[in-house]
Symmetry: D2
Subunit: 410 residues, 4 copies
Amino acid sequence: MSEVKKVVLAYSGGLDTSVILKWLQDTYRCEVVTFTADLGQGEELEPARQKALKLGIKPENIYIDDLREEFVRDFVFPMFRANTIYEGEYLLGTSIARPLIAKRQIEIAKLTGADAVAHGATGKGNDQVRFELGYYALMPEIKVIAPWREWDLTSREKLLAYAEKAGIPIEMKHREGGSPYSMDANLLHISYEGRHLENPAAEPEESMWRWTTAPEKAPDAPQYVELQFEKGDLVAIDGVRLRPHELLAKLNELGSRHGIGRLDLVENRYVGMKSRGCYETPGGTILLKAHRAIESITLDREVAHLKDQLMPRYAEMIYNGYWWSPERRALQALIDATQQTVNGWVRVKLYKGSVMVVGRDSPTDSLFDPTIATFEDDRGAYNQKDAEGFIRLNALRLRIAAKLEKKRGV
Amino acid sequence: MSEVKKVVLAYSGGLDTSVILKWLQDTYRCEVVTFTADLGQGEELEPARQKALKLGIKPENIYIDDLREEFVRDFVFPMFRANTIYEGEYLLGTSIARPLIAKRQIEIAKLTGADAVAHGATGKGNDQVRFELGYYALMPEIKVIAPWREWDLTSREKLLAYAEKAGIPIEMKHREGGSPYSMDANLLHISYEGRHLENPAAEPEESMWRWTTAPEKAPDAPQYVELQFEKGDLVAIDGVRLRPHELLAKLNELGSRHGIGRLDLVENRYVGMKSRGCYETPGGTILLKAHRAIESITLDREVAHLKDQLMPRYAEMIYNGYWWSPERRALQALIDATQQTVNGWVRVKLYKGSVMVVGRDSPTDSLFDPTIATFEDDRGAYNQKDAEGFIRLNALRLRIAAKLEKKRGV
Amino acid sequence: MSEVKKVVLAYSGGLDTSVILKWLQDTYRCEVVTFTADLGQGEELEPARQKALKLGIKPENIYIDDLREEFVRDFVFPMFRANTIYEGEYLLGTSIARPLIAKRQIEIAKLTGADAVAHGATGKGNDQVRFELGYYALMPEIKVIAPWREWDLTSREKLLAYAEKAGIPIEMKHREGGSPYSMDANLLHISYEGRHLENPAAEPEESMWRWTTAPEKAPDAPQYVELQFEKGDLVAIDGVRLRPHELLAKLNELGSRHGIGRLDLVENRYVGMKSRGCYETPGGTILLKAHRAIESITLDREVAHLKDQLMPRYAEMIYNGYWWSPERRALQALIDATQQTVNGWVRVKLYKGSVMVVGRDSPTDSLFDPTIATFEDDRGAYNQKDAEGFIRLNALRLRIAAKLEKKRGV
Amino acid sequence: MSEVKKVVLAYSGGLDTSVILKWLQDTYRCEVVTFTADLGQGEELEPARQKALKLGIKPENIYIDDLREEFVRDFVFPMFRANTIYEGEYLLGTSIARPLIAKRQIEIAKLTGADAVAHGATGKGNDQVRFELGYYALMPEIKVIAPWREWDLTSREKLLAYAEKAGIPIEMKHREGGSPYSMDANLLHISYEGRHLENPAAEPEESMWRWTTAPEKAPDAPQYVELQFEKGDLVAIDGVRLRPHELLAKLNELGSRHGIGRLDLVENRYVGMKSRGCYETPGGTILLKAHRAIESITLDREVAHLKDQLMPRYAEMIYNGYWWSPERRALQALIDATQQTVNGWVRVKLYKGSVMVVGRDSPTDSLFDPTIATFEDDRGAYNQKDAEGFIRLNALRLRIAAKLEKKRGV
């Protein structure tokens, strides 16, 4: 075990990261800096400060940062510019938060002169990869400590025993086995994994879902909402301009009310296994639909298709933890270059779990030309005879091949 | 105008194709063979025979074929193996029917010794391309007649006048301006375009939707349905094995009841313009969700990602009319090769417009291994320490680049 | 035929475009503006002025522009940043010149208030598409005249007769049937098509090649050349900084001397047919090899692979004439973003038709780290034990699948 | 260290694998089975048997297999069907041999009831990955031993000392430091890495190249060779049908004589570092050119472009060691499906380091139609007027966008 002088720990204030904090002190005999981020997970952060102090962390070594605006502006929105979905379903709510945590953790390491960073992700998941690829990309010489891969606290019992011995307060819920799920939340989503979900054949219990109203209990009347976009990013809801994280919070509120954004899927982890996860992404689900709709009238066809073809790779990069890689930045350059004209509004209808686009327009950038598309007389805007040549030349290679086949008697 | 002896017309029995029939007789002075296909559009076909007879078509020149099973088995199902969606939304209900119509039309041309084929698609749309690329690929020397691109019946009035003069019965609805939409239907979907929809900012009227119950009026209780797959194709619903077209009809019934599959979008046509279309694809919407879900536990990750990356191009091929092309066949070879292990069942919950997957399993082919994925003790099935090396080597190139940047003082 | 007041003709001064000039005057009774570009094709341009004057063009309507620097700087170099090759072989020498000609022609149309443009490309080739897509993208309302698709001068004899009648001087070579090839030349390449080459089984005659020494007659001693790159573009040869077009001219001289850059291939035209072409691209062939080599030490692996995967589509866009499209610009944004670090030098050895890279380095941006790659003791720069975890996790999905297959007894 | 009863070692008979053999016996105290493959590397294999016997291997535990035909037929040829090149240059000579060695090694493990396999690849390279991914994919429960990652023989001196102590004969060349390169050879290529090559700025010494005549010393007269293909595979040279490995050997002989196939490059290894390698692939270099040429007249354009777009990923799969993966098999299904029509002959000219295609034809499958492509009168095979509509519809979206830009005053 190499020597460590000071380590920055991604600290939630919960039982697990408190045990890690203690374990780092015990094992590495090093100074610990705690870093707690507000990403909109909806928890009080001050208790984390108190817990850290109790565990002997110096006040100047406690960092609690509100990263909500940066999170939505610089991570969530750029990702949505690409209509990003992983494996056809997952909106990447956890994946997109990790690079920001890694970035801030490294900034704090530099500020405090730390030589190591630590996180509470297990050795089976994607998050360890996302954290550590970020650390290494931003500070290549950093020492990374991943306690779950190192220690011998391999069962819940051992962990509780360690906590008890260390004087870490254990809430009743933990004594009773803790949440039946492993969860993660931020402004984009809340996720559930593990325990009760480990049988992908079984439906999750209704009580699991924490954010959204059940579609069955959602309002009986649909609600219409208008989203305004500028350069591909949401800027206003129903005419009210807000800051990025406020907009997403507002969309979450709307989506949650109408039971929107629940997802139950089996996904492929980067470390090679399949895993069942459930997600609630109320605002993101609305945003994705609306972004596609505003693109549908403002983006050129071939640009849109190029984006669609590249999107799965872009999603893979984010899912696998390569946000801070040069290949993600190169793709982002392309994506961002396409969004200059993505301006206008989209109207959606929210109702008991579904989002339906019911109107869209762009006063400045619409490529929809009713004088051409019309079924009525177009006064010469389009010459139907052009289609003959278009088809005949597109068919030429097919006809040459068919003639050859015929000649061969195939 | 080149000479034509006998032409096979894709004939619906409606006003437009009846006018075309007459116009072909008048203009080309040729024998006309009519071909009417049952693709599950939900209309009686016998009236088409009567109309054709009245217009002077010889009984042996009237072809009315039930293509429903072939349509679903050889066109719809292969397309769904790829989770095909055009521009993120459209399930290609019209696009996938055209190649079959073209194929059968050419078969009839060969049977009857015809030297030409004709269709009723306009010169602005995609369908003309889909029909004609099919014709040329299957019979390269065929003469193609596209009356809408040739004649001078450029307004509704002229068309009605021609019909009247020709003694074609005109129903009251046509005199009153006809449907406010241009429609197309088959077992996979019904589509609406034109007229009232030409303003993409305006919501379609509720009365437009013909198949699905409005979500607001759908049953208050959700319904669970179990879909069984073999080699990527649906084979049974709730334990009942049916033939392909019967399965899709059953899914349509279920989806329609629950308000599933409505879609309102602006799409990019192959001929270069944007167009607003509304679609109802109740069964297909369920099928797509379920197919992705059964793949999620039976397909290898990299195979699934490869399919996702190729899907937009495959969708483009079908949308643009290249079903009968060698590139579509090459992609199909890849897609079909991946479906051997796609066996198992998926349970979905249908409720007021939404489909949610709530369970899936494959007794024979599940790659989900709970002994590895578990958050509990895995008894050595997975060595968490492996993750360290995995991450460190994946990070190596990022670290080398970061060190260089640092050295450069960037 | 719609009315035309003034047309800008891409005019080479040769027989064909002189006939076109006259035909435009005769047919459209319009004012003709001639535009002749120096793209380094190696011909005197002043004779074109004299010919134009003789054909009645007003002096102020004659444009002769030296576009060589712009051609190489803004078209050739950006294309080489992507290592662009069409169908594995063709360096796109003709394709890349067309968008610049179209751009300048439209500029002149705007300057002179012309309402039409005309070109001398036939209706079978790619060039008509490249010109016209450029025209339409840059001036959507422009009237395009493509005489070869309109007139009835469908044979060489008719064309000569027309010229004779119009008093256009006909050189002896034309009377004798003209060149046995259709040719095009600019700073990037010279091409040969048609006539003697229409049998792809037959080797072209040695006398066809105009630029390069036959490899058999090239110097017996190899020559070493060093190319310096900055941000992906060539900036100096053997230490001498020159302007872009001077650099390419210098590389052409070197390559031609050593018999480099001959190519004989069958290619797929955008209009649907296969065509046999022969090309000499001496400088470009060297440049491509060298650019790949400088990228090999300065580009990240995944960025390089992403570029390789996108390159065929980028090449297709250029070949098909979509330089001025938004999708080409979007891809260019990605490509250019990757070239910031592509700085350094490459040494190549030229010898009797081949270019071999024999050394490369980047003092500022090399990602080649000998302390890691070494077969000798690396003093801990790389931990070989990391490879075990890397392999084991990459193998995990393969092992899970293999276990399942074994269980099934496959 | 887990227990091992019997291990199958990939054994070359050289010093390194002899030391490994002894080390396995010493360390694991297990029975060792040696496996030596003839892949056309051009070395006697019987000495390997003698050495194995001397090191105490039982005769029945010594496997020496001639895999040359299988290698070329089932690995090299399928790879060439895709025109496979890694990073624009490398023909994958080493990469493509590893999966076959892994396959045979696992077969022997099953035959002999071994529970482990071992190889002599280092922890820094790609080969360890290629071997081990193969092992795991074909026998998921196998124990893998990679001595270079485990032992403490971290320097040449320690290895020699170990060999001496173990009574392994050490040839003089090894005492003197051994080859200045790390080499690998098989029927497809010979490679050089390490030592003298670790400075990518320096040209390799002429004496390094073992197979090919230096271009400068190659014959002064070019040689023409005709290659015959069936379903994408080479079947005859100059009219003589031979078995796959005989054909490749013959091409190697021809290429080597004419100095063809030398390559000096920096490549990106899967484990994250850049590495400089030199390669001689004489026959493969000819084969690649010729295969592209036969495809150029027999493959449809879009199929060829699809293959070109997928090739870099296919190459990556092979380079990274995923031959035995489901994604490689899926791509192979596509590739093989395209090769049914790839029949015909190609004539190439070999001269002092370069291969030039000078003719190609396919009596049965040529899609080159001179009656269409001709510059002469085509008697109506192609209607030039079709091009107008083709261009106008392809330009439509560009024109709509340009009009909008103009309206906006951009």
